[in-house]
């Protein structure tokens, strides 16, 4: 089957453009606006957009453009780090289980069962509560929820590849386990894992907002999108603008990652291996 051309892949292009725009916004936003991220002005709370405040202001009269762009850094880094950890842990576990099989697989897969058995948000919430809030702890708690997906997908790819003739042949030729795993099996898992991870970035951003809504986000005054939305929702009736900006920012970013992930799927995971293990945690 021929690879679909990237130019013809609308999801990839639109998703990529959104992600790029968000990254640029995160990098350049505060410089462009010239406002400080923590500068309060209680006399101009809940302003709608003006020439001074391009996105209006928040519940403390802080410039929302600046807050949102610094918030993008926080949200995206939490997403990247949590998914990164989950991929590392999950892929290692999946490879080891899939390759070694036997009792190792049996035992580790029961551990995966245990983690799958927890409702995702309850697990994340309990871990954040135990470790205390903060970027690092939030990241760890999300990674604890996400890693099982990667373990499952890598394991299933590994199991399938292990039975392939070329692996059998490699074993017969006396190739080392490490060589087989890294050169023969791992490359096959990379596609689905990348797809899953891209989609996971969106999930992580939503999860952060959900935890913030329940009061377990990153401490203020760190301008996370989740807090802005959680506050904004409380002022929904009187000042709907704040929650609209935050909600849309989350939605558009997640949309960007999802479109990008979908586009990647057409190229990297045409058989949809990644799709079947996802359960969009914490939603």
């Amino acid at each position: 089957m021929a690879r679909p051309r990237i130019a013809g892949n609308l999801s990839l292009v639109v998703g990529g453009a959104i992600v790029l725009a968000i990254l640029l916004f995160a990098l350049l936003g505060p410089t462009l606006s010239g406002y400080s991220v923590e500068g309060m002005d209680m006399r101009s709370r809940f302003a709608t957009p003006t020439a001074d405040h391009w996105l209006g202001t928040d519940n403390f009269g802080r410039d929302l453009w600046t807050r949102m762009s610094v918030g993008a850094r926080v949200s995206v880094s939490i997403a990247l780090m949590s998914v990164g950890i989950a991929v590392l842990v999950g892929a290692t576990v999946g490879l080891v289980c899939g390759y070694l099989g036997g009792w190792v697989d049996l035992v580790v897969m029961r551990v995966v069962d245990v983690f799958l058995g927890f409702p995702p948000i309850v697990l994340a919430l309990a871990i954040v509560a135990a470790l205390g809030p903060g970027v690092v702890n939030l990241t760890i708690s999300l990674a604890a929820v996400f890693w099982t997906e990667y373990a499952r997908v890598v394991r299933s790819v590994t199991l399938a590849q292990r039975e392939m003739d070329y692996v059998t042949a490699a074993v017969a030729l006396g190739a080392s386990s490490a060589r087989i795993v890294f050169l023969e099996i791992l490359p096959n898992a990379i596609g689905p894992v990348i797809v899953l991870a891209t989609l996971g970035l969106g999930t992580a951003i939503i999860a952060e907002s959900g935890l913030s809504f329940l009061g377990f986000g990153v401490e203020p005054p760190t301008p996370t999108w989740g807090w802005t939305l959680a506050y904004g929702t409380r002022y929904l009736r009187s000042d709907p603008w704040l929650s609209t900006v935050a909600g849309l920012a989350i939605m558009v970013t997640v949309l960007g990652f999802n479109l990008f992930g979908d586009g990647l799927r057409d190229i990297l995971d045409p058989r949809g291996v990644a799709q079947r293990v996802r359960r969009t945690p914490t939603q």
Binding site: P133, P220, R234
Partner: protein, 506 residues
């Protein structure tokens, strides 16, 4: 979704109700923020249980809207000597199960509360009791270890039927009291339905049904009220909902002084915060007015001291340091703090002024207030971080004296003793920062032992004046009590949020 589905369902339900022959049922639906944990008044802990139990049970006394004890199950009482109280019970009071109230039930209620095994939350309020005994079936005598003036305010505790409990009755889920309403059904986590008790000693109330409907989220509860699914909502409410509801002429609303404070607990055992001069400087950076009037949208009141306006001990003349950054700067300088290295943060002996503000995650408005305080601190050279944990973790830290400055509150302060003795007496059980001031100790002991109202007032005012100056607590706000109700209900607001007036009593 079909429009008017709800209307149709409602019409059908009404038609069916008519068919069943009932006439214009009056149901009052109250929005509650949590489900009741128990229906046993002795072990209740949450506000909903408190309110439900107030309708299911009677105490020896009831507190009226001005917090004055008035007769309830006790028709009268006397105080022959400072440590002895005698209560004469009302005659012919029956429990929901038909049994008659006697002095034994009263004795049993308090004896079990004092038994640590019951795990009663309010046990410590009654520990000054030496002996409680039945003199005759309608007379109860309480002997105290030492004079204890606040006791009468705490005797609204519901009286439970001894025979029923000892016979295996489970009060926590099948309550039996003497109150005007009795339990009809309880769908855990959702709804508590009470109906009139025909045998109530003052005659059954004039309503047909009283429902506590549980909606955890403040905003959702306000929306439900607006949508007509609730008749009464009350504090806690989000400030941003309050201003909108207050402007809505469909609803009656009232704000009154509540029985709580929101305050900064300044940990005097912390090496940094232990300096009263620094505490005063920090206090001058707390913009009470903006917090109370902007963040809380004016439901609460700017506080002047530890004494509540609703209290007989209140004195408007006592004040804490007001918001004044210039005065704060001077105070910092006086305490030895200045920005010598020009990094925008004050320092002293080479150490920068860094501290942590903490509160709990359940109340977004407290988090906002803290965020605001932090911003002003930072502008004025105090590098403050914020730490937020959920209530158990936060309260464990505060109880352990591990905090520096914590934002939290006290509720249900029916007597100044309740907010001061434990908190500021050097041997006080709630004195988490180990604040010690011999003069305050003496004043608080006097306040507790004196029965004479004027004497108590003087003692508490003197103590409050010292506290407002030394600032182990910086009281930000007197919490307001807000209630909204529809025209279907007539209601006299009660600072404690009790609903006896909603069922046509008092």
């Amino acid at each position: 979704m079909r429009a008017h589905l709800k209307v149709m369902a409602g019409a059908l339900a009404a038609a069916l109700a008519l068919a069943a022959g009932s006439v214009q049922a009056q149901t009052v639906r109250l929005g509650a923020d949590v489900d009741a944990g128990t229906m046993d008044p002795r072990v209740m802990r949450d506000t909903t249980a408190y309110r439900v139990n107030n309708l299911l049970y009677d105490g020896l006394v009831q507190l009226d809207a001005n917090l004055q004890p008035v007769p309830d199950l006790a028709a009268s009482w006397e105080n022959p000597e400072p440590t002895v109280w005698i209560f004469n019970l009302r005659e012919g009071v029956s429990f929901h199960d038909g049994s008659t109230l006697t002095a034994d039930d009263v004795v049993y209620t308090f004896e079990t509360i004092l038994d640590p095994d019951l795990k009663a939350r309010f046990r410590s309020l009654f520990t000054p009791i030496e002996v409680i005994e039945a003199v005759d079936p309608l007379t109860v005598r309480i002997v105290l270890k030492e004079p204890y003036a606040p006791l009468l305010s705490y005797l609204d505790m519901g009286i439970v039927p001894k025979a029923y409990v000892e016979g295996g009755g489970d009060l926590s889920s099948a309550p039996v009291g003497t109150g005007p309403l009795k339990l009809d059904s309880w769908e855990r986590g959702a709804k508590i339905v009470l109906v009139p008790f025909e045998g109530y000693f003052a005659g059954p109330p004039a309503i047909d049904r009283f429902e506590f409907v549980v909606v955890g989220d403040n905003t959702a509860r306000a929306q439900a009220f607006e949508a007509g699914d609730l008749d009464i909502i009350q504090s806690p409410l989000s400030p941003q909902d309050i201003s909108r509801l207050a402007a809505d002429d469909r609803f009656a609303s009232s704000i009154s002084g509540g029985l709580g404070i929101t305050y900064l607990n300044m940990n005097v055992s912390d090496p940094l915060i232990s300096d009263p001069a620094l505490r005063r400087a920090l206090a001058a950076l707390v913009d009470q007015d903006t917090i109370v009037n902007t963040i809380y949208e004016g439901v609460d009141q700017v506080a002047g001291s530890i004494l509540l306006p609703s209290s007989w001990a209140y004195d408007a003349g006592i004040t804490q340091p007001a918001f004044d950054p210039a005065a704060a700067a001077a105070a910092f300088a006086e305490a030895g703090w200045s920005d010598t290295d020009g990094d925008g943060v004050l320092d002293k002996d080479g150490a920068a002024l860094r501290l942590t503000l903490s509160t709990h995650s359940e109340d977004p408005n407290r988090i906002q207030a803290l965020e605001y305080i932090q911003a002003i601190f930072k502008q004025n050279g105090v590098d403050a971080a914020i730490s937020i944990a959920d209530w158990p973790a936060f309260s464990a830290a505060v109880r352990g004296g591990q905090h520096q400055i914590a934002l939290l509150g006290w509720l249900n302060i029916v007597d100044p003793d309740r907010l001061m003795f434990g908190q500021f007496h050097s041997a006080g059980t709630l004195n988490w920062g180990k604040y010690a001031n011999a003069e305050v100790d003496g004043l608080l002991e006097t306040g507790r032992a004196t029965i004479d109202a004027a004497g108590r007032t003087d003692a508490y005012r003197a103590a409050a004046r010292i506290i407002a100056s030394e600032l182990p607590y910086y009281v930000i706000a007197y919490q307001g009590y807000q209630v909204f109700h529809t025209d279907a209900v007539s209601l006299t607001p009660d600072a404690r949020g009790m609903m006896r007036s909603a069922i046509g009593m008092q």
